[in-house]
């Protein structure tokens, strides 16, 4: 994709405003809440902290891209079954972080799950349901290691 946006523009703004992909959210705008999480060359990063000039030529995947994967289906089911979604604002970022974790570590312990989502704030759930959801996804998954 190409853009005329200035090189210091935030990747988050490009994704939401120019490309209209509004699954990626803005919470804090300073790296602390994880609502803006995306993959840059398959690595989990905060799009609010990335000037687009720094990542020219990189491959970006947002939650919309992840939604087309088998991994997402499993995570989605698990989040619903565990009641991991309340207002939903944190969820796209939370799911990106969960996917990143499971791709690297298909069988995480409770502590590893908490560490994996430690950059994602949720005001509603108190995290336990989310941790359960990731654990369930790991069980359902075994599959989940192949990331697109």
């Amino acid at each position: 994709m190409e853009t005329d946006a200035p090189p210091t523009a935030r990747l988050l703004d490009l994704i939401r405003e120019e490309f209209g992909l509004i699954g990626t959210k803005e919470g804090c705008g300073e790296g602390e809440c994880g609502a803006c999480s995306i993959f840059v060359n398959n690595s989990l990063q905060n799009s609010c902290l990335i000037p687009i000039g720094a990542i020219a030529g990189a491959e970006i995947q947002t939650i919309e891209g992840l939604m087309e994967t088998e991994q997402f289906k499993i995570l989605d089911e698990s989040y619903s079954e565990c009641g991991g979604v309340q207002c939903g604002y944190c969820i796209p970022g939370m799911v990106m972080a969960s996917a990143a974790l499971l791709s690297e570590n298909p069988n995480p312990t409770d502590a590893e799950i908490r560490e994996g989502i430690s950059g994602n704030l949720c005001r509603c759930t108190g995290y336990n349901m989310i941790v359960d959801a990731v654990e369930l996804a790991a069980k359902k998954g075994e599959v989940v290691c192949q990331k697109k």
Binding site: E30, G31, N46, P51, A54, S118
Partner: protein, 289 residues
């Protein structure tokens, strides 16, 4: 229309250095400090007051290699990359693991932590006790400085505008027999900025102290380390006597001057710092690592 923004992203370090020689630029590595510092808000690019030069894609700044017993770390290595690298000492990995969360660790760089020169930079106490040297590169060639001379004050470093921090060198770190620890007291979550941090290094031979170093973070404008105090312990029998430990703790009590801020109080910081020191000096079982 927004005002014009100048930014450079060259394929090679040489071209980058030439540009820096012509023009004073804002260097952006991972951008995790720069983007927060100059944040402007939704839909508006951050207001960075100088032309920007991106460097974190340069493979020349990402190499990690051993040369004799020294470890050379490319400044633009991200925390995530260093955690995966078998050459990186365990103590440094432990410090890195306390930094923020995975997504920040996938962008933030070691060079950025040094050049940002925050009193709470989590890799800094360890880099001080490793006697880290910094390789600064410019069109005029290379220059090597000690980290303790490079970092001058919060956000102030001894870099000429035509220089890039290219490598962090940890002298003799791959030598056997030293024991190194890192401790950080803070809140455990993504906003885990240190209230107090501590790094200690000790090498024993024939039951005497051969080498000992310690440094504190977040208790002053820069890391606090005193080579004079360390020297008093050289050659002392190990484990240390109560009297020796008391006298070292008393010496540090004189030089640590923490401040109150939103994260913690001065009294708390000082108490914790001295406890961490006492604990380190008291340990009688060292695992060389």
């Amino acid at each position: 229309m927004p005002e014009k923004i100048t930014a450079y992203r060259f394929d090679y370090l040489d071209e980058t250095l030439s540009q820096l020689n012509k023009e004073d630029c804002a260097i952006v590595a991972g951008g995790t400090d720069v983007m927060v510092l100059h944040k402007s808000g939704r839909g508006v690019p951050p207001k960075i007051p100088k032309p920007v030069v991106f460097i974190d894609h340069l493979s020349e700044l990402k190499r990690v290699y051993q040369k004799d017993k020294d470890l050379h770390i490319g400044s633009c290595s991200t925390y995530g990359e260093l955690l995966e690298n078998p050459l990186i000492p365990i103590a440094l990995k432990n410090a890195i693991k306390t930094i923020a969360a995975p997504a920040i660790r996938n962008r933030g760089t070691l060079g950025g932590n040094i050049c940002n020169a925050s009193p709470a930079g989590d890799t800094l106490p360890l880099l001080y006790v490793y006697n880290a040297k910094l390789l600064l590169r410019s069109v005029n060639g290379d220059r090597v400085v000690a980290i303790s001379d490079f970092i001058q004050a919060p956000r102030r470093i001894g870099r000429n505008h035509n220089e890039i921090l290219a490598e962090i060198i940890l002298p003799s770190v791959l030598e056997e027999g030293s024991h190194v620890v890192f401790e950080k007291i803070g809140n455990r979550n993504a906003d885990a900025i240190a209230k107090v941090s501590f790094a200690g290094y000790i090498r024993i031979s024939n039951e005497r102290i051969d080498d000992i170093r310690f440094a504190f973070g977040a208790v002053g404008p820069t890391m606090v380390r005193s080579i004079d105090i360390e020297k008093k312990l050289l050659g002392k029998p190990f484990p240390l006597s109560e009297t020796d430990i008391d006298s070292i703790v008393a010496d540090f009590d004189q030089i640590i001057r923490p401040i109150d801020d939103q994260r913690s109080t001065a009294v708390y910081r000082k108490t914790v710092a001295l406890n961490l020191l006492r604990y380190f000096l008291n340990t009688s079982q060292y695992q060389p690592n």
